[in-house]
Symmetry: C2
Subunit: 368 residues, 2 copies
């Protein structure tokens, strides 16, 4: 019996073969170039999937919250970077965790360093968060002075060890082409090395460099002069990564099976049970159209090729409105399933909390 026969409501499908292949490719690339792979586990959020990384020789990971660090520390991970500007209000949890594992945090202000200096009870590593043009957060790469001051402040504090410079060049997601995404990655590595050079000149050494957006790490054959990369999304990819060109459609490892609940051929639309609370409201734009996901149909125990011109056009709490070419729409009846390739797999994993592999096994996450 096909796994689809048992699916009653929005269900996150996982093709483990594709995911393991994606992982193997990235691990191989970093091994070849003698760069540490510290994958971001905010994408899969699963202790079970974490084991696949261990099998590839990964020993150090990235997470985005203290809660996620806890979850993975319980699963045996002993070297964790929380790649988020340190949340001072969780200092008690930080101290507990830092007493158990090798913990690294991100800082970008003298106030945060001062607070940690005063309240930390164990030694931790710090990375200085650098902004290379993503304009989310971090200290600007082209103003070395405040960075040098922060570095000096860290190095004068007993419980703090300065590990190096960390950035996330998220602007690759908006690159006009794969070549441009790769160029942004290379530029980022250049900026970070210029900055390291300035700091070393000022006597601040040694300093590691860590970078890590999935488009850059996937698209550039040469990862350049960095000590570590931290991509996360590459294990699954998604419709947006496919749009950016970081992967081929065949490299996408997750899809959400959603029941068809209504048909509207007069406007090329079908309504699915699968809304914002399942897929998240993240989208990307292609030719001025907001795409909340792309579409395929169940095929054997997986999903088939993408439906040309098909996409998730609108989402409300539980409704998804999908746009389809009429010939595809005509193949769908109320009660059938469609497979939505999420715009953003990380948020879809958070929303759906659990995977169903194509062989029918349930895989839990920290939210299960």
């Amino acid at each position: 019996m096909s796994i689809f026969a048992s699916i009653q409501k929005p269900t996150l499908l996982l093709n483990t073969t594709i995911a393991k292949n994606n992982l193997h490719s990235m691990a191989e690339k970093t091994r070849r170039q003698r760069i540490r792979l510290r994958p971001h586990f905010k994408t899969h959020q699963s202790a079970t999937i974490g084991e696949w990384f261990r099998a590839e020789g990964v020993t150090a990971i990235t997470v985005s919250s203290i809660d996620m660090a806890y979850y993975f520390s319980m699963a045996g991970w002993q070297d964790i970077t929380i790649a988020f500007p340190v949340n001072l209000r969780q200092i008690d949890d930080i101290n507990t965790l830092a007493g158990q594992i090798k913990l690294a945090l991100l800082v970008e202000s003298p106030e945060a360093v001062q607070f940690l200096a005063k309240h930390l009870t164990s030694k931790i590593d710090l990375w200085i968060k650098v902004d290379v043009g993503n304009f989310r957060t971090g200290l600007a790469w082209d103003k070395p002075e405040p960075i040098a001051q922060l570095a000096a402040q860290i190095r004068s504090t007993p419980n703090l060890a300065l590990r190096g410079l960390l950035t996330h060049a998220g602007q690759t997601y908006h690159a006009a082409s794969p070549a441009q995404a790769c160029q942004i990655y290379q530029q980022t590595v250049g900026y970070m090395n210029d900055l390291r050079h300035d700091l070393i000149e000022a006597g601040i050494t040694p300093l590691e460099i860590t970078v890590g957006d999935t488009p850059g790490c996937s698209l550039c054959d040469d990862l350049g002069e960095v000590d570590e990369i931290r991509p996360g999304n590459f294990i699954f990819y998604d419709a947006e990564q496919c749009h950016v060109g970081s992967c081929k459609f065949e490299d996408i490892a997750v899809a959400v099976a959603c029941p068809v609940v209504a048909r509207h051929p007069e406007r090329n639309e079908v309504v699915i049970y699968g809304g914002a609370i399942h897929l998240s409201k993240d989208y990307y734009e292609a030719d001025g159209i907001k795409i909340y996901g792309t579409l395929a149909l169940p095929d054997g125990d997986g999903w088939g090729q993408p439906l040309a011109g098909g996409y998730v056009a609108r989402l409300s709490q539980e409704h998804g409105i999908i746009h389809l070419q009429l010939e595809d729409l005509d193949r769908l009846k109320v009660g059938d399933l469609v497979c939505v390739i999420p715009a953003h797999s990380c948020l879809t994993v958070t929303a759906l909390k659990e995977y169903l592999t194509l062989s029918g096994s349930r895989v839990s996450t920290l939210n299960s």
Copy 2:
């Protein structure tokens, strides 16, 4: 000690006084006009909060999924409408539930009715879903013929009882003014009564009418000739409802307390721990700007007035980037809390799974 002293990470605050006042106003309005209030529980998703409705005399509720119907049936609710086109793949759950409570479902296609006729094991009520210009789903109000055919099909089936016509005029959310939102509501009620008239002429009687968007139900003093309204959001409201004009800022009953983790005065921005997985990525547009939430500061055991010109400008998985006037930004330090009034409270409740009341009690939801 202020409740804010104990808050370490993104936390959904609930002002129970405001919520109960919102509820009382709506309940009073429906009592005065002898209209049934069948509130949509997809907003609060909480058995505890459901009891406040019972205290106002509410005995019938609306939900958006079979899982939610189960949760509230376990909390003693015996009359539940699932206001979502019936998901045929959950027929077993539907049968179980229909054997225990008075269940009503939505249909809009002959195929769905045929399937239910064949597979239902208990009697249920059906509402025909009508589209009055929201273009999400439903049969067009201005084409009575297919609606009359569906009605006849339902009435010829033993286990199915035709209850009436249901619509959701969600287009009020995009009204240019409160007056226009109210006008859309009145137009909707007019359309539904025209349709009922046509069907009654064709011998299909009795037929109830149920409508229920929060802007229309909040803004129109006269709810018109309807049997039932189903608003949900009004219990909390949110930044979007305030923007539409359905409520005043003082009527908003929820906010998310989020720690400040970085300051960027050079671009009028502050980074908070509070991202897409806490607030959802829902937004509305005001003057061409995407608003993912508005802002206030902690004030006593609640939140103060809105910060003029302050809003959540961007969200990634855990980061929120808030835009602030410099004088407000200057009052915030790393480690402080800000209160985000969510763009869309229903999705924020789903994401955060639990409330903290201003007196410090935890209130659970179906996702807790």
